[in-house]
């Protein structure tokens, strides 16, 4: 497991189905400064497609995605 990236904030979104993971990360990313990193943990397989789509559209960066035992951890850097 890579722990190279240090998150400034962790969002636990496990158990939440669509559209909540994307809604929560869009709110959560605004609580950190530009350049800082949010780690979002989801259990919704749909978010594997949704998070990159959200990031591209909103102008943020998914730095790393780690899948681990049904959990998906996204490291998102606020860029906009």
């Amino acid at each position: 497991m890579s722990d190279a990236i240090k998150a400034d904030k962790v969002l636990d979104l496990k158990g939440l189905p669509c559209p909540m993971p994307v809604v929560k990360i869009s709110k959560g990313i605004k609580t950190v400064e530009v350049g800082q990193v949010v780690e979002a943990i989801t259990s919704d397989p749909g978010s594997l497609a949704d998070f990159p789509a959200w990031a591209r559209t909103s102008g943020n960066e998914i730095m790393e995605t780690i899948q681990d035992n049904g959990e998906i951890r996204f490291f998102v850097r606020r860029k906009a």
């Binding site: 939440l16 559209p19 994307v22 809604v23 990360i25 869009s26 709110k27 959200w54 559209t57």
Partner: protein
């Protein structure tokens, strides 16, 4: 040389005209249906789009209109037809039925239970979330009048406007995405 300058001016004018017509990062949606499943899909798309950073406007018309009635709201005096529509159509988000497998309400009740179990946001939660995310709601004035609905019986919502078709068309014309649900 003079010719070049003239061409440049022409091009600038044309570019300005094109830019004026470019659509915004906006989603315009018509919610025509009053079915629970379709209204649910509408709000999932609306809140998702708002999360993506899009401006979102929803136009409620025809069968979609009674979905925005408030549960505890009183309407005052209505004529016979207005009373009939009022009694037969859903009174708010908690009163809407599935478009399929409703089975006299049993199917809808089961679906609601299942949604709760699976942590899927309810219509009430999504409506509140839409308000937080600045989703604009427009209500068709003609539908209100046709079915005898009164403004007093419509929900309290942060951004709620009564309008006609021209307002929708203006918004749709300026939106990259337009949906009819």
């Amino acid at each position: 040389m003079e010719n070049m300058e003239q061409q440049l001016t022409d091009l600038q004018a044309r570019l300005q005209a094109i830019e004026g017509r470019a659509q915004s990062n906006k989603l315009s949606m018509i919610v025509f249906s009053g079915d629970m499943d379709k209204v649910l899909a509408s709000f999932v798309i609306a809140t998702g789009a708002a999360a993506m950073g899009m401006e979102v406007v929803m136009f409620f018309t025809f069968w979609g209109t009674p979905v925005l009635r408030g549960k505890g709201k009183k309407a005052g005096a209505k004529d016979t037809m207005g009373k009939m529509f009022g009694a037969m159509l859903p009174k708010g988000t908690c009163d809407v039925k599935l478009s399929k497998m409703n089975m006299a309400g049993l199917g809808t009740a089961m679906m609601k239970r299942l949604m709760k179990k699976k942590n899927v946001a309810s219509l009430e939660q999504l409506l509140e979330l839409a308000g937080e995310l600045d989703v604009g709601i427009y209500i068709c004035e003609m539908s209100m009048d046709l079915m005898g609905f009164k403004r007093e019986e419509i929900i309290d919502y942060p951004s709620l406007t009564y309008c006609g078709v021209a307002k929708f068309l203006e918004e749709a014309n300026d939106s990259r995405i337009q949906l009819f649900i």
